[in-house]
């Protein structure tokens, strides 16, 4: 369970998040959506523990982040964060790095080796997995980073734009199915930022929409439809929520009389 209470944050003079309230029950997948630069990555970094918010607090399974050393370490054992741009050690092979990450999260050694094999096969890295990471393409590096998050077997996944970064269609499909199975069939709780409405519509139990430092909507797709009075697809609902003038602007763009 992830609970965000009254979180506000700002960089210098610019406010990024204002009074954000969020609750992701155990075993659910919540998608964060919103225009670029609205604070999705900042919110995920705060949830993941990379930064302390200027105001408010985050609770993970009832434990408050940074409350004490013991509590923070307990939270860290339960949660893994995949940033939008992870940094990987170039001279390790993917397999070695996954092994090290799994050990960091105290995954049983035999299970870990087996899990790594299955992950490398799933993301078609079985041949590239034993070569140094520096020889991987950008998409392959992103796959390795995703495998790193999955190999930890953490019950809470915080994923920032997991479907971007040059992933090929088969990897997108694989990740989509894996996340669906994890959130649906197990008690894994997932919060992810994504800009791809089709994927969010397919995967998310709840959708939170950020706009202009505030959270303007949070709930199931049906609840968002009710809130906006729009019974179309997620892109239409999203458009109504975030930028209701978009259609008018598009019309105006095309209908402007030629000089």
């Amino acid at each position: 369970m992830i609970k965000v209470s009254d979180v506000s944050h700002h960089y210098g003079l610019r406010p990024v998040l204002s009074h954000i309230e969020l609750h992701v029950p155990a075993g659910q997948l919540m998608a964060l959506m919103g225009p670029n630069g609205v604070g999705k990555s900042t919110l995920l970094a705060i949830i993941a523990g990379l930064m302390a918010p200027a105001k408010g607090c985050v609770e993970i399974n009832g434990l408050r982040r940074r409350a004490s050393e013991e509590v923070e370490l307990r939270i860290r054992r339960q949660l893994v964060f995949l940033p939008d741009h992870p940094w990987l050690p170039e001279f390790m092979t993917a397999r070695e790095w996954l092994l090290a990450v799994g050990q960091l999260y105290e995954v049983d050694a035999d299970r870990l080796m087996d899990h790594i094999d299955r992950l490398l096969e799933l993301f078609q890295l079985d041949r590239q997995g034993d070569a140094p990471i520096r020889t991987c393409s950008n998409g392959q590096k992103k796959k390795v980073a995703i495998c790193g998050a999955l190999v930890t077997e953490a019950p809470l996944l915080v994923l920032d734009e997991p479907f971007t970064g040059g992933l090929d269609p088969s990897a997108i499909l694989a990740l989509r199915r894996v996340l669906k199975r994890l959130a649906g069939g197990t008690d894994v709780t997932i919060i992810m930022a994504s800009q791809i409405p089709e994927i969010v519509e397919d995967l998310a139990d709840q959708i939170a929409v950020l706009s202009g430092t505030r959270m303007i909507a949070c709930g199931t797709l049906e609840q968002l439809r009710e809130q906006t009075g729009c019974h179309g697809s997620l892109p239409e609902v999203f458009e109504r929520l975030v930028s209701p003038q978009t259609i008018e602007r598009v019309e105006s763009y095309f209908n402007r009389p030629k000089a």
């Binding site: 960089y11 003079l13 990379l50 370490l73 990987l88 090290a100 990450v101």
Partner: protein, 399 residues
């Protein structure tokens, strides 16, 4: 003639190439000086006997230092890591003698240093005590450092308190000899104590089969050692910052007290020996530099969540969760400045007051919270992203 086994070790002889090198260098030096002084046509003595004696003393001194270092680096498991790695695979226990040879002086050491002393006395016209004193000094100093390396803290601190006392002008010859004897005893007891804690797993690469191949190294990847955030950096971002096994070492209250007393004591001895003038400025400089180093250590991985403009705009000038790291360095600098007044009042006892000030400053910097572990896990900061390459050459690249 046979010597007791523990006083005799054939392996303690210096290698033949090293002995030959010494003979060649010494002979070449004297031969060259003889040729320059007596066989070249300019007819004046280029090297005075005193200059030749100084050169000979340098060669003999360097030889005795190298011999002591050879003994330590060959026979001390903490200085000879392949030896430590091999020793770990054997059934050796600390109450047994070390299999390669002892670290205490044996008859071979006496012969080697004796030969150097004889050359100094009979041929080089140098004080024969030079190689003896120099080898004793190097032996005790290196053994003291090895106590620190093997984390034999109590004995190391005891030795560290004894060393500065040797330079005090009030100490006479007999007292100096007694201090040296005490130092030797402390170093020896500490060495035995350190052996009883072997293997020293905190020493890198002191493991059997280290670095045989890249693959083997990584299969043995021991996460237990990668607990400090600096070491975790090789796992990439953000695992280094968010590690569930983060464990950063900190100075215990007792160690903080002892180290700060040691700093004061060292200052007192050096200031007394050099007749340092009354100068609170030195304490201020030391306090400021030490405070800066402490701040750097705490801030190298963690930046404020929001900057000064953010503080001004939000009206939150003080962020207790972050500003707590500024308290100890600020207090240390304040104490150093405020200490100028009692130093002036202390008259001829100013060195005692300055030493006490330095001890207090160090105690504040070492002993005052937050502990590094507490700071990393609970501070109101944001973790900095890593640079593209760290000091160990492990390159991290953004995906």
């Amino acid at each position: 003639m046979s010597f007791p086994r523990h006083l005799h070790c054939q392996a303690a002889w210096p290698p033949l190439w090293a002995s030959s090198a010494f003979v060649c260098i010494y002979a070449a030096l004297h031969g060259a000086v003889w040729i320059i002084n007596s066989r070249l046509p300019w007819g004046v003595e280029v090297f005075a006997p005193k200059e030749l004696a100084n050169l000979s003393a340098s060669v003999i001194g360097i030889a005795s230092v190298l011999f002591v270092l050879f003994r330590l680096f060959r026979f001390h498991p903490a200085a000879n890591r392949p030896y430590a790695a091999w020793l770990q695979t054997t059934p050796w226990v600390s109450r047994q003698p070390l299999p390669l040879g002892p670290l205490h002086p044996v008859i071979q050491d006496v012969v080697v240093i004796g030969v150097l002393a004889a050359i100094a006395r009979c041929h080089a016209a140098v004080d024969p005590w030079l190689p003896v004193a120099l080898s004793l000094f190097i032996y005790l100093a290196a053994m003291t450092l090895l106590l620190a390396l093997t984390r034999t803290r109590g004995y190391f601190l005891a030795a560290a308190f004894l060393w500065p006392a040797l330079i005090l002008p009030q100490v006479g010859d007999w007292q100096r000899t007694a201090i040296l004897a005490a130092l030797a005893a402390v170093v020896w007891l500490g060495y035995r104590s350190s052996l009883s804690h072997f293997p020293w797993n905190f020493l890198p690469s002191a493991k059997p089969g280290a670095q045989t191949s890249v693959w083997q190294t990584d299969v043995r990847f021991d996460i237990g050692e990668l607990t400090a955030i600096k070491e975790l950096r090789q796992l990439g971002w953000p695992y280094a910052a968010l590690s569930p096994r983060m464990k950063s070492s900190s100075v215990s209250p007792v160690n903080a007290l002892l180290i700060s007393l040691l700093a004061g004591w060292v200052y007192f001895c050096v200031a007394t020996a050099t007749s340092a003038p009354r100068s609170p400025g030195l304490i201020i400089i030391v306090a400021s530099l030490s405070a800066f180093v402490r701040l750097l250590l705490y801030a190298q991985f963690c930046a404020p969540s929001f900057n000064l403009l953010g503080r001004l705009s939000s009206g939150r000038l003080v962020v207790p969760g972050y500003d707590v790291v500024l308290v100890a360095p600020g207090l240390a600098i304040f104490i150093a400045f405020a200490g100028a007044w009692p130093v002036r009042l202390a008259g001829e006892h100013h060195r005692i007051v300055q030493a006490a000030l330095l001890a207090i400053v160090f105690h504040v910097l070492l002993g005052w919270g937050p502990k590094m572990q507490t700071w990393l896990l609970t501070g109101s900061h944001r973790f900095r992203k890593p640079p593209t390459a760290d000091s160990k050459g492990v390159v991290l690249k953004q995906v």
